[in-house]
């Protein structure tokens, strides 16, 4: 079983701050992490390797610094890592990203056939959940999104059964390999790296692939040129035109404040009043 896991290095958005005066994003000192959602994909691929043997290849498209994310993935137990990096990839939206990643996975498959491709549900910086479906369509792989559990794998028949989160329930789907799975968060828990894997990760000779190595055939489909969407402007959300009406009662108790609030609300929000009447 050969799985390819797509991971992305992202800024730890929990630590991003917007400068209070200039309203610009303060990125300095914000640590880069593996997109948290991708860890569920990686762990699931490692579990398949535990059960069926084979190997796990992690790939990312990004700047040279993304090497750190790949080494981290190796320390969890991934076997191989490829950093797809080329100046011409800059400015890629999801369509251009899926084109480059699909080409890369095809190159990998030339050396060792790929049974499964995994991606996270979405990234925390792009947040689009489009790259997984994009890769699947470009490679003509069966697409299984929001998978919460791999129920069974039949290696001889090359079939897989999964549970997929749908609206209002869970779909149980059967399909054939190779396929692409986008893994749902919370579906598993990332293991701790072992000592030997950590050493191996530190010594691993990283593979850097430029656009030629990644087998990119059409350069008009990558980077800014291959991206149909562009960001026109970035801005901070403005406050509502009016601020909250503050309820306070001179020398009053919390009970007085509560009563005052309800009286004001009844006058200004008949809609709420009607809703309350329904519940009376």
């Amino acid at each position: 079983m050969h799985s390819v896991v797509c991971i992305k290095q992202v800024p730890d958005s929990a630590q991003i701050r917007v400068h209070p005066v200039t309203n610009t994003i303060m990125r300095q000192g914000v640590p880069a992490i593996i997109n948290p959602y991708d860890l569920f994909a990686l762990e699931e691929a490692l579990r398949l390797k535990d059960r069926f043997g084979g190997k796990v290849t992690v790939i990312t498209m990004g700047p040279p610094q993304a090497e750190v994310a790949l080494r981290k993935a190796l320390s969890f137990g991934a076997d191989d890592a490829i950093l797809v990096t080329d100046k011409s990839f800059a400015g890629a939206d999801t369509l251009a990203t899926s084109y480059a990643l699909a080409a890369t996975i095809r190159q990998i498959a030339k050396e060792s056939p790929v049974d499964m491709v995994f991606t996270g549900k979405q990234t925390i910086d792009g947040d689009t959940a489009q790259v997984g479906p994009g890769i699947a369509k470009r490679m003509d792989l069966q697409l299984l999104t929001y998978v919460s559990r791999i129920v069974s794998v039949d290696q001889d028949k090359r079939e897989i059964v999964v549970e997929r989160r749908a609206e209002g329930g869970v779909q149980v789907l059967k399909t054939s390999l190779p396929c692409l799975i986008t893994m749902l968060e919370g579906s598993n828990q990332m293991r701790f790296g072992t000592m030997p894997d950590m050493f191996r990760a530190a010594r691993y000779e990283m593979k850097f692939w430029d656009k030629t190595a990644a087998g990119i055939e059409d350069v008009t489909k990558i980077g800014l040129k291959g991206s149909p969407t562009v960001v026109n402007k970035v801005f901070t959300p403005s406050p509502r035109s009016e601020k909250a009406e503050m309820i306070a009662v001179e020398g009053g108790s919390p009970a007085d404040v509560a009563v005052a609030l309800l009286a004001k609300m009844a006058a200004r929000f008949p809609l709420v009043e009607k809703e309350l009447a329904k519940r009376a």
């Binding site: 994009g134 609206e167 059967k174 009406e245």
Partner: protein
């Protein structure tokens, strides 16, 4: 809507001759188990505005198994504002599966060429939108919170949160059509239904048989909706945040919710600390809600929380910090300790409901 912090040079969008033929606004009508997802009606409401700005028709797109049900979906779509519906019926469309739906929607787009295609940002809508956009090789903007038309060049301006929700950005699609966008449930208002409003049907066949489809649905396990909180569609929500201090204090939020027959919501730190279930998180990485009344206790009003609840008709905020950001967009604010204000509110609402009941 806001103050710009960084303006890039405005791009001139010049469409190729063949792309000029793309006309009309489409909304994908999502359904599962015989139910249309309400987000589709919300999108028809929004799509109506876009279509009127452009002076074009608004269409619903229904892919379904043959039968009365699909026709009923179309009739309902007219009542929510659609001028026409594209209807594709086939046995292979009985359950949602990526392949037949992607092929079906792609065929329809290629045949009838809409300029805008909107889908709900649900598990189904996102699965389908990402696939169709790649197949059609066009642009897709996910999780939009605002949609409008650029009067200069008729292109769609899609606004969405970026950088984990701390900023907003506006995205345009260059020389590609259709312009695709997904929108989360409850972000847009539900339009009024107009009984008796009618439209026309355009039927189109799907050139695909069950044998062509690799993926099979073995089973559908419906959620046991009895215990599942239905936060997005609740009319009253009482939410608590980290300001409540400890898990035991969260009971005060539950007490008020119970008095009101309301759902309980929470900010992310409270969910992460395990005080309440994951399903109750409101915000950017939780649920978007649109209640008539939202009561927030001990919640600072960070942008990631705000984007999930600012669609509420009336927001009451309780916070002991008079400068808490939540007071910038709440309708009513009470500065004070949630531990004493919450019980007082619970009592006041109880009495109010009792009075309303007497009044009949």
């Amino acid at each position: 809507m806001s103050e710009e912090t960084q303006v890039k040079k405005k791009r001139k969008i010049v469409l190729d001759e063949r792309l000029l033929a793309y006309k009309g606004v489409w909304v994908f009508i999502e359904h599962e188990r015989g139910q249309v997802h309400p987000v589709s009606w919300e999108l028809l409401g929004e799509g109506r505005k876009l279509a009127d700005m452009l002076g074009v028709e608004l269409a619903g797109v229904v892919l379904a198994a043959p039968g009365e049900e699909a026709k009923r979906f179309c009739e309902e779509a007219y009542q929510y504002g659609a001028d026409l519906c594209y209807l594709m019926q086939s046995e292979v469309l009985a359950d949602y599966r990526n392949d037949p739906f992607t092929q079906g929607l792609t065929e329809l787009v290629n045949a009838y060429q809409p300029e805008i295609l909107l889908l709900g940002a649900t598990t189904q809508g996102r699965d389908l939108a990402g696939s169709v956009a790649t197949t059609l090789q066009t642009g897709l903007t996910a999780d939009c919170t605002g949609l409008t038309i650029d009067p200069d060049n008729r292109s769609l301006l899609s606004t969405r949160p970026t950088f984990g929700g701390s900023l907003l950005c506006t995205i345009v699609t260059l020389n590609y059509r259709p312009q695709m966008a997904t929108v989360r449930p409850r972000v847009m208002a539900m339009p009024e239904k107009v009984p008796g409003r009618v439209g026309r049907i355009v039927e189109h066949p799907l050139a695909m048989a069950e044998d062509d489809i690799v993926t099979k649905v073995l089973e559908f396990i419906a959620d046991d909706s009895r215990d599942k909180p239905q936060l997005p569609f609740a009319d009253i929500i009482v939410a608590g945040g980290r300001g409540l201090g400890k898990p035991e204090n969260f009971q005060l939020v539950r007490d008020l919710a119970e008095a009101l027959g309301a759902e309980v919501g929470a900010s992310r730190p409270v969910v992460q600390a395990g005080w309440v279930e994951l399903d109750r998180q409101v915000g950017q990485s939780g649920k978007t809600v649109r209640p008539k009344l939202y009561i927030a206790a001990g919640i600072s009003g960070a942008i990631q929380h705000r984007v999930g609840m600012e669609g509420a008709d009336c927001i009451i905020a309780i916070n002991n910090d008079p400068n808490a950001p939540i007071f910038d967009f709440a309708h009513y604010g009470i500065v004070g300790d949630a531990m004493t204000i919450l019980p007082a509110l619970t009592e006041a609402f109880r009495q109010k409901l009792a009075t309303l009941k007497q009044a009949g």
